[in-house]
């Protein structure tokens, strides 16, 4: 259902000629892509500060050029265990719209590969079954040779995991003793 919606909204934002510049990166052995236009920077890992009480997949913040930005872990959003960092681990800083506010968010990735031109004709909605990822968090799949590139739906990822602030009041209560 999500994918139908997505294609109606023409998201990812294909250009008129049906192509798109995209940055590809690896997470948990899969290749992901995001439109290059929203990528602000690719960083080596930074010292992280945990935010107690925050949702697990945005459990920490980093200092990005004097700004404090949340660091999101797509693995956790997709319900997978977090992974050890490697020498190739990078943070991809993207600017996304969250509830109407343009927000910088760092995405934890295992490896950043390259910038590619993707073709709309190669894309298709995610299959409803047989996916190891929750399909509602995926915009579309793009075939490239023998491999498949996943185009995640960042908006859905950040929205799907949102909680009502009211529930959070629990966090500061002292544990019953």
């Amino acid at each position: 259902m999500m994918s139908n919606l997505a294609s109606e909204h023409s998201n990812p934002p294909w250009r008129e000629d049906g192509e798109l510049e995209a940055l590809t990166f690896d997470i948990a052995g899969e290749t992901f892509a995001l439109e290059a236009a929203i990528v602000r920077e690719i960083l080596d890992l930074l010292p992280e500060t945990a935010v107690p009480g925050a949702r697990a997949f945005v459990g920490s913040v980093v200092n990005f050029r004097g700004k404090v930005i949340p660091l999101a872990d797509i693995r956790l959003a997709f319900g997978m265990p977090s992974a050890e960092v490697t020498i190739d681990s990078r943070i991809v800083v993207v600017e996304v719209d969250i509830e109407g506010t343009p927000t910088l968010v760092g995405l934890r990735t295992d490896k950043v590969t390259e910038v590619l031109t993707l073709k709309k004709s190669d894309s298709e909605p995610p299959p409803r079954v047989g996916m190891r990822w929750p399909t509602e968090l995926i915009e579309c799949l793009i075939k490239r040779g023998s491999s498949v590139i996943i185009f995640p739906d960042l908006k859905a990822i950040f929205a799907a995991n949102s909680r009502k602030p009211a529930a959070e009041a629990e966090v500061i209560r002292h544990p019953k003793s």
Partner: protein, 702 residues
């Protein structure tokens, strides 16, 4: 940098002018014969008309012209300033604002109706039909209006007098768009004028700047008009120019007006005009000239000095986001500087240390300056309420006196802007619900004039803005009953007075029996609460039945920078806002053991609940052997926060958390530390609330 739309500049300017006009009018209402106020309103109207026409706001210019004409008459003493006139122009001012904001809008008969009101006011005031004519003719310019005024100055008419007017304008006059020729023309309109130009200041050709004005003038004027009319010619340039008006005595037709001719003056430009004119002056005048000159010179200078003083608060309009940008940069600079300090401290290089110390000093000065840049006196906010109260008097039929105090208290500009809405609600509430009707007040033995007091004062890192009325006060039982009947609280719930009063902040809560167009819908207080919360402020309500209600808003001074206490819990570092910190003490081992299971601390005889931050934050590490307690408070409530280590105080630039962390209420923001790491800022109000709950639980079980 982006280019700025000239229309926006005009709108900003117009908004200021309208504000100035409104303040002038409101003051005038109380001091109807204050010349300075009348002049100030007139000047405002005139400038608005002028710039309006320049930027193509023709409707505005045409409409404003009528008000200006009316005020011109008052200024000239032809019509008295009346309350009706002030009211009419106040109403007209609102229309002007509409015309500024939406010049193409359809206002139907509004403009005509306002003009009618204005005309009636002028007619009523002067008791003559003449003003009608002045208002009916949009073409009438002030100078022409002055012609009509001759009837009033009948005594002067036969008295033709001679004046010598010397004036020079600043070099940038032309650049600013003033046309000296227009001034000369206006003087010619006043009477017989001989004009001589002084070219002595014109530099050699290669030094001339074509945009600068090097000329000054001496005008010999024969006129029946009083001095004030001559001064009026220069009314809009008076602040910058030097002007000297001398009266040379009554006009004697037999005497030659001037011994020199303008042609001569032009023919010998290098000679100073003053030197040329002097020998030609009649001996008697010549002798008298010096004392006269001195006398008028002084009075003139004092006038100029007066207007200079008024202008001294010269300001530069800067878009707020540029200031914010600058603030961000300064914040980053401070962070970079503290890293430098750390590096320098561990280095043996004396030179590096010197530079680093110098940098540290500069940075802290820069930051202080930056903070001050954003501060504006709260008086700018209070001024707006005079108009509101003025209108409220009309709408409620109550006589209301607005008293303001502490206008000079300074606050961050953004904070002030955001306070405007809540204050409007509170003042309205005070006037509509708080104050009784005049009869009611009389019956209660109070003065019939209801009083609403707006005041501000700074206490530590907070500004307390209070809105007080001397009305009927809030009936707690009524609030209770209402809250119980609407299911907001269980029937018979045990609540403190303050808790009951805080109920009025709940959305949709109103005890008003009838909804008026002013208030009573129960929306306002909710808005107040939301805004104050977003400013990290608190609301205190106190009330006495029959004596009035006081609502105090406690707002942090600035949103951007706070002094904080840096602490460590587990591996994480956190900042506790310093104004909230009461004291720090050690949690002794035995106290720690004893307090297990109840988490209370006996502090000088009173029980203070405490919260182990490491448990809330699930640090998963072993506690330090000697833990510390930081006691924080918000007003009356206190709570102790148990931390592993107190690192020290830390002035810090607040960075907001992203929307993704909106749900984390424990923290109000984040900051970047000297080593580039991030520390989260604890939301004390929230923690204290948690502590209070804990205390309530304990009481319940005890």
């Amino acid at each position: 940098m982006s280019t700025i739309d000239p229309l926006d500049i005009f709108r900003a300017e117009a908004a200021e002018l309208l504000e100035q006009i409104e303040q002038g009018l409101l003051d005038l209402e109380h001091r109807l014969d204050d010349r300075a106020l009348i002049d100030s309103v007139f000047r405002g109207l005139h400038t608005l008309k002028g710039s309006g026409a320049m930027f193509g706001f023709d409707a505005l210019a045409a409409f404003t012209h009528h008000c200006e004409t009316a005020f011109d008459r008052v200024r000239k003493g032809l019509a008295p300033a009346t309350t009706d006139l002030v009211m009419a122009v106040l109403a007209a001012r609102d229309h002007m604002r509409a015309l500024v904001e939406d010049p193409a809008g359809d206002y139907g008969a509004t403009g005509a109706a306002l003009l009618k009101q204005l005309q009636d006011a002028v007619d009523g005031g002067s008791g003559r039909t003449e003003p009608t004519a002045a208002i009916d003719q949009p073409e009438t310019i002030p100078a022409a209006g002055a012609v009509a005024s001759t009837a009033g100055d009948a005594a002067d008419k036969s008295q033709m007098r001679r004046w010598r007017i010397r004036f020079s304008l600043p070099p940038d006059t032309l650049f600013n768009g003033t046309n000296p020729l227009a001034l000369l023309d206006e003087m010619r309109d006043l009477g017989d004028a001989e004009i001589q130009v002084d070219t002595s200041n014109v530099p050699p050709l290669d030094a001339i700047k074509p945009t600068d004005l090097y000329l000054s003038w001496v005008v010999m004027l024969t006129t029946d008009r009083p001095r004030a009319d001559i001064e009026d010619v220069f009314i809009f340039v008076m602040d910058e120019m030097s002007l000297n008006i001398e009266e040379l005595g009554p006009f004697d037709p037999a005497e030659p007006i001037l011994a020199w001719t303008p042609a001569e003056a032009v023919a010998t430009p290098a000679v100073a005009a003053g030197r040329m004119a002097e020998p030609a002056l009649p001996p008697a005048t010549h002798a008298a000239e010096k004392p006269v000159h001195a006398a008028t010179g002084t009075s003139q200078r004092s006038e100029v000095a007066d207007s200079m003083a008024r202008r001294k608060a010269e300001s530069v309009r800067v878009p707020a986001e540029r200031l914010d940008e600058l603030m961000d940069r300064v914040g980053e600079l401070v962070i970079a500087q503290s890293r430098l300090t750390q590096i320098a401290a561990s280095s043996l290089d004396a030179q590096l240390r010197t530079v680093s110390e110098e940098m540290e000093r500069l940075c802290s000065e820069l930051r202080t300056t930056m903070m001050v840049l954003r501060m504006v006196p709260v008086g700018t906010l209070f001024e707006r309420f005079r108009r509101l109260v003025h209108d409220l008097q009309r709408d409620t039929g109550k006589t209301i006196e607005l008293v303001t105090a502490g206008e000079t208290t300074e606050m961050d500009k953004t904070v002030i802007e955001r306070l405007a809405d809540p204050l409007v609600h509170l003042v309205r509430n005070a006037a509509d619900h708080g104050l009784e009707s005049p009869e009611g007040r009389h019956a209660a033995g109070k003065s019939e004039i209801g009083r609403v007091t707006l005041s501000a004062r700074q206490v530590g890192g907070e500004v307390i803005v209070t809105i007080a009325d001397d009305g009927r006060g809030i009936d707690r039982d009524k609030i209770r009953a209402k809250a119980e009947s609407s299911g907001l609280i269980p029937v018979g719930a045990v609540m403190s007075d303050q808790e009951v009063l805080q109920l009025i902040l709940q959305p949709g809560f109103s005890t008003a029996a009838t909804v008026t167009n002013l208030s009573g819908r129960g929306v306002g207080m909710d808005v107040v609460k939301k805004t104050i919360d977003s400013l990290r402020g608190t609301i205190d309500i106190s009330t006495r039945l029959g004596e009035g209600t006081t609502i105090a808003l406690r707002i942090p001074l600035t949103l951007a920078i706070i002094d904080g206490l840096l602490v460590r819990v587990g591996k994480g570092r956190y900042v506790i806002p310093l104004p909230a910190v009461e004291e720090c003490l050690e949690l002794s081992l035995e106290e720690d053991l004893r307090s297990r299971g109840r988490s209370f601390l006996s502090l000088r005889g009173s029980l203070v609940p405490f919260i182990r931050l490491r448990e809330i934050f699930s640090t998963g590490s072993k506690p330090d052997p000697y833990q510390k307690i930081v006691v924080v408070s918000t007003g009356e409530d206190r709570v102790g926060l148990v931390v592993d280590q107190i690192i020290g105080d830390h002035q810090t630039v607040i960075k907001s958390m992203s929307k993704l962390h909106d749900d984390v209420s424990t923290f109000s923001g984040a900051t970047i530390l000297g080593d580039g790491g991030v520390a989260l800022i604890l939301d004390v109000a929230n923690l204290v609330a948690a502590g209070r709950e804990q205390e309530a639980q304990l009481r319940a079980t005890a």
